[in-house]
């Protein structure tokens, strides 16, 4: 008898809950991607306890428990490097469990480029605390002062070579019962064995051989496959369902909770067929605004409040420019964009009376534990949320929705359920990165100095203390949830990083956004840096100053100056103002541009140069070369950092060149890769990097910063080549062609 059957009999009997088994065979089957992970159940997950982060076993091996997950970003090797370094344990002896509310500490969601900077630093302190505890234990065991001992490969011994005891003998699977010491002594960088090395990622061999098990591949015993039926228009309610339209599809049936409708079947293809075959009637939608007027609507939307992000001096030079002072104004538009995961979202859930288990690729595993407890009305500690790899998500894609849909359906049918989104659902329904509108003004005096700078940004306001991104199925099923909007910190970097006497940067927080939003990689800062760094270039052009020189003169941060100089040196930057003289007969115009960011003004620094070729006849932009210098402090694993640089640049080039979410008055219409194209292999430019390693500095994060200067470096290069300034993303060929025509 399978566990699922026994539970159904239990449900049928309406019996009293008597479950002594805890996690039975089903619970274990796919609980974590590491076999026998469940042997750790009951361990501490408190964020201040060493035992929450690591365990040392009898054989001298160790397991680390990490709340911030590896999204293909390299955490599985980097976290081992951090722990192995501080513990002095060879990395092949370290296993890692990540993103499991029953086993890993809540380190916050995986986002903000904080995986290593915060998550890794917490692990490092826990490992350092553990190491000191182990040396203290060894000192007692060996009867010698701790100062006379050293550690090599998990063995503590006297510095004089006498006496030794292994970690396994000292602690062997017992609890440390230590608080993480925030002042624990960290290994100095001169003694690093693992940190700073480009060690290969342990997940890559399985990924390139098809053996890596993704969430989408998870099969539980007795599991049903589900497809959710979506309304044809946003906000439409379900009127009727014709169940007879499923006749002939084996085992397919509908599950309905008000307007939340799904089909389930034993086989996935049958669920998919049933979703196509099912006849439904829906009421009218609540309507979407006119996409063509999206940016105009932002300007006229009700402003909830203004936020002054930066203020210095006054703007008199703008309001009453003295003689010889020129003023400049420009508007920049970055459209709504989608996360664009290559694998549509998936969720698997097993909801039982006694416990809820959810498998998800969400970047917010611990946050979801609360969400499920709230929506399903169960105690938080009866909910277990387990991360499994999905396709890259780059923020909050449809993963949280798919997980909740699986849970609601599992509760309804009394069996484990897997929900697989379609491509059209992922493109059409995942929460979007919001559109951003920025107006910039500057006054430039007769000496070319910036006498005043003003940024005004129109951004949709996020809801304070929103417990979770409102989920589609919860609303459709008529269940309660807090309404509101999630965006990430989209106001950062609206002000320039350069020395200026008079500066005002204000965000007008507006009430409306046409679609549901969520954080999308480097939230807000890609558009903000596009505006600020494009406008910096416009000022330099007005002043007839070389764009590199203009920036160098106004920066004081030595690490920023180094990054800019290293990019310039590698590019062979020739000092001259932009644009370069345009050859009116040339079919292809070439140019180079530059942009700079100090991410959030206190994290990673990136300087980026770009070379482009623009086809005059078609407007097609070909990016031929990108050179980036990045200083993200300590790089635990430089090759993983480099991969993040590559990814940030290519993904954002795609966003800047191609991407825009389009909708009609009912629904999103850019619902596949034809209507929402992204960068392809033939378009990939040559990539060159200056990787600035700072072994003696803290890590600052590599997952987002390099995305932010891409738009401006590109626009500035196009301006240099053509003399035409592109201020509205995406820079699709037809738009560029029109801009070129407008000039000539």
């Amino acid at each position: 008898m399978t566990p699922g059957v026994s539970r159904r009999s239990f449900l049928a009997a309406g019996g009293v809950l008597i479950v002594g088994l805890g996690l039975d065979g089903l619970g274990r089957a796919g609980a974590q991607s590491i076999p026998d992970a469940d042997r750790f159940l009951g361990k501490s997950v408190a964020p201040d306890a060493v035992d929450s982060f690591l365990a040392v076993h009898r054989d001298g091996s160790a397991t680390i428990f990490v709340g911030r997950v590896d999204l293909g970003t390299g955490g599985r090797i980097a976290m081992r490097q951090i722990a192995g370094e501080e513990l002095d344990i060879p990395l092949e002896r370290i296993a890692m469990i990540e993103g499991d509310t029953a086993l890993t500490p809540n380190q916050g969601g995986t986002g903000g480029s904080y995986g290593i900077a915060r998550g890794g630093s917490q692990l490092r302190l826990a490992a350092a605390t553990a190491r000191r505890g182990l040396v203290d234990l060894a000192a007692q065991r060996l009867g010698r002062p701790a100062g006379d001992l050293e550690v090599a490969d998990g063995v503590v011994r006297g510095k004089d070579g006498t006496g030794s005891v292994s970690y396994g003998e000292l602690i062997g699977d017992r609890a440390f019962s230590l608080k993480v010491d925030q002042a624990a002594p960290l290994k100095s960088h001169e003694r690093f064995r693992f940190i700073g090395k480009s060690l290969p990622r342990p997940d890559v061999p399985a990924k390139v051989t098809g053996h890596h098990r993704y969430l989408q591949d998870l099969v539980l015993p007795n599991m049903l496959h589900a497809r959710v039926i979506r309304p044809p228009a946003f906000g439409a309610t379900l009127v009727s369902v014709d169940e007879s339209s499923l006749a002939g599809i084996a085992g397919a049936r509908t599950v309905r909770m008000q307007s939340f409708l799904a089909v389930v079947a034993e086989r996935e293809w049958d669920a998919l067929r049933a979703a196509r075959a099912l006849k439904t009637q829906w009421g009218a939608g609540t309507g979407l605004p006119d996409h063509a007027k999206e940016f105009d609507a932002m300007r006229t939307s009700r402003v909830v409040r203004d936020q002054e992000v930066a203020r210095k001096g006054d703007l008199a030079a703008l309001s009453a420019p003295p003689a010889g002072t020129r003023t400049l104004a420009a508007s920049y538009r970055w459209p709504m964009q989608t996360h664009g995961s290559i694998g549509p979202s998936c969720g698997v859930a097993d909801v039982r009376p006694e416990r809820v288990t959810v498998w998800t690729a969400s970047q917010n595993v611990h946050g979801l534990q609360n969400t499920f407890a709230r929506v399903l009305g169960v105690e938080r500690d009866r909910v277990r949320v387990i991360y499994m790899d999905g396709a890259g998500s780059y923020g909050a894609n449809g993963a949280d929705d798919a997980a909740m849909e699986a849970a609601l359906l599992s509760r309804a049918v009394g069996r484990p359920v897997r929900v697989q989104w379609t491509r059209q659902e992922e493109h059409g329904l995942d929460p979007k990165g919001p559109a951003q509108l920025l107006d910039l003004r500057a006054a430039v005096d007769k000496d070319g100095e910036v006498a005043a700078w003003e940024t005004q940004a129109w951004l949709p306001i996020a809801t304070a203390n929103l417990p979770n991104i409102p989920l589609l199925s919860v609303d459709a099923a008529g269940l309660p949830q807090t309404p509101g909007r999630s965006t990430g910190l989209i106001y950062q970097n609206v002000d320039p990083p350069y020395a200026m006497a008079n500066l005002n940067a204000v965000v007008h927080w507006i009430e409306d956004a046409p679609l549901r939003t969520s954080p999308l990689r480097a939230p807000g800062k890609i558009a903000n840096t596009f505006a600020v760094e494009s406008f910096t270039d416009e000022i330099a052009a007005l002043a007839r100053v070389d764009p590199l020189e203009f920036r160098l003169r106004r920066l004081s941060n030595p690490r920023g100056l180094e990054a800019l100089r290293r990019v310039a040196a590698r590019m062979g930057w020739q000092s001259r103002p932009s644009p370069k003289p345009v050859d009116r007969r040339a079919a292809v115009l070439t140019g180079r541009g530059l942009a700079y960011v100090h991410y959030k003004h206190d994290e990673t620094i990136v300087a980026m140069g770009m070379e482009v070729a623009v086809e005059r006849a078609t407007g097609r932009i070909r990016v031929t070369r990108v050179v980036a210098a990045q200083d993200c402090g300590l790089m635990i694993n430089p090759d993983c950092v480099r991969a993040q640089l590559e990814g940030n640049i290519l993904q954002t080039l795609s966003r800047a060149l191609h991407e825009e979410v389009v909708y009609d008055r009912d629904r999103v219409t850019s619902v596949d890769w034809a209507s929402y194209p992204i960068l392809t292999f033939p378009e990939v430019p040559k990539l060159e990097f200056e990787m600035i390693q700072r072994l003696d500095q803290p890590p600052l994060g590599a997952g987002e910063a390099a995305a932010t200067p891409v738009g401006a470096a590109l626009a500035n290069a196009v301006f240099d080549a053509t003399g035409v300034r592109l201020r509205t993303v995406p820079f699709r060929a037809e738009r560029v062609k029109a801009a070129l025509a407008g000039r000539s």
């Binding site: 890559v204 053996h211 290559i342 396709a391 890259g392 090759d639 590559e646 290519l650 960068l679 292999f681």
Partner: protein, 159 residues
């Protein structure tokens, strides 16, 4: 229930389906447990589901399973394993040419088809052969290097 006989990774497999239109992808994943082939779009737009049929790259999300009956189907699992990757997979590992890795199997299969036809491709040929394989993480440059590395490692060989 109609019986369908497929030859997958050198082994003859029989599956049953009451739908003659079932795409190969759902047979591979659902019936044969070969989950290395991934669903990406169902529209033949992204390449995540690419397999080889008689050495040619085919999008298994739209190819009806019965259309390949009796033909030689090779999936990512048919090339190598984590312990014994084939030379192309070994080149992907050497270049660490995957981030999330969801699109990777399809890229390996498209590249395999290319190298079967063109053992020593130019960089442009590699890019063009992979133009229908989408990657969102931005592993493209590493993938290109990996394919060129594999081609260089076995000069003239039909991989």
């Amino acid at each position: 229930m109609a019986k369908l006989t497929l030859k997958v990774n050198g082994t003859t497999r029989e599956v049953e389906s009451d739908d003659p239109d079932i795409p190969l992808l759902y047979v591979l994943r659902g019936d044969l447990g070969l989950t290395g082939t991934h669903f990406g779009c169902g529209l033949a737009q992204c390449g995540a589901c690419t397999v080889l049929v008689n050495g040619r790259a085919v999008r298994s999300c739209i190819a009806p399973a019965q259309s390949v009956a009796g033909q030689d189907v090779v999936t990512i699992e048919g090339l190598g394993s984590p312990e014994r990757p084939d030379p192309l997979q070994a080149a992907f590992i050497a270049e660490q040419a995957a981030q999330c890795g969801y699109c990777t199997a399809g890229m390996v299969m498209s590249a395999r088809a290319l190298l079967g036809q063109t053992p020593r491709p130019s960089e442009k040929q590699v890019r063009d052969a992979l133009a229908g394989n989408l990657c969102r993480c931005g592993s493209h440059a590493r993938v290109i290097r990996a394919v060129l590395r594999a081609a260089a490692a076995k000069p003239g060989a039909r991989s």
